[in-house]
Amino acid sequence: MGRRNSSGQALLLGVLLIALLLLSVELYVYEVGKAIGEANPNSFSDSIFAVRLGSRHVVVGSLANISQGGANQNLEINLENWSSFVGRQYQLGKYILNFTSKDTAQYSSGIWISWGANGSGVSGAYANFTLKLLDRGTEINQTYAINVTTTLSIHGSYRVIGGNTKQVNVTSNLLNEGVPALAKNLTLYYNNSSNWIVPDSQNNYAFIDYGNGTYFTSFVADIPSENIEVSTHVFDQREINVQANVTCTEI
């Protein structure tokens, strides 16, 4: 009788152990499956792309600010704030975003503003980023660079109509990251006895937008000097300001 009881208890214990083993295996498989389901590669890549896109907007916005008179340090301040904001989010794990702004001969604190008198003007910003995404058992590292450059090149020529009256033609070309881009606003100035004047309808001012980043402007003015200096100020579609000056050649 005693032997029967103990074999029954052993059977029960064995069954309990097998059931526990089965359940623990199933629980493990369930948890692993859930983690994989939650953290699919698409989510990671979309999330990284979104942070990258935001970084680009910060660089563009900072350059717009600096090109309109803001301090060069605004780029680093804004990027610092962006890194901190990103670091406080935990959608898919812990984000760690670091950046370094470019400092070379042309760039200072990641900013390159060169509005020359040789017909060329550049407003640019450059920063390198490293983004780390840490999740349960997952670590993704992504490095990328954001380069935002608005370039303006202008060519001017003039012909004497009579006396001091001259007809001036100026062609402007605008580029965003080396690709022709549209201007949001373009203003032409000419120098007359050290005064920078905006030509208007009284100067027979003509403006042609070719729709491909090329703009033609023409005006007639009484300018005693033979050195006709013109200056073009442009805001691109991203509100980045760029300027260029040139001395027109006589034709």
């Binding site: 029954g8 208890q9 059977l11 029960l12 069954v15 309990l16 097998i18 059931a19 089965l22 359940l23 199933e26 629980l27 369930y30 499956g33 859930k34 389901g37 699919n40 698409n42 989510s43 979309d46 999330s47 792309f49 979104a50 942070v51 896109l53 935001g54 970084s55 907007h57 910060v58 563009v60 916005g61 900072s62 717009a64 600010n65 309109q68 803001g70 804004n78 704030n81 962006w82 904001f85 990103v86 989010q89 959608q91 991203r238 509100e239």
Partner: protein
Amino acid sequence: MIEAFLAVLVILSASVFSITLYYPTASSDDEKMLKTLGMQVLMELDNNGALGNFIDESNWTAVRESLEILLPIGVSYNVTVYDEAMNQINNSTMSNGLKGQKIVSVEYLCASQSSEVRFYLVRLQLALVR
């Protein structure tokens, strides 16, 4: 006899419990699809900085109209926008009446492209209307 009955009971209970642990793949596929869709739609809207500009201008109508163009028919949504301090800033509802058995939430970090850079968290909730 009673031990055998208990053993069968234990095995049956374990089987029943393991069935409830079954990971619902079909529903999870819908969730994944909705999350991907939500992220793609927000990235599309933010690609040229439009999303940040709409929020800067508190142009909630533009956000709602853009989402209604980009989201497919049969998907209901609700959007909430938070500032850096996580205060809700949209003062009007941006939704087509969120309804569905399973609601997923996508959180998108947005930086405005304006010269005064601002940061937002956009929470897009989506559900399949069946």
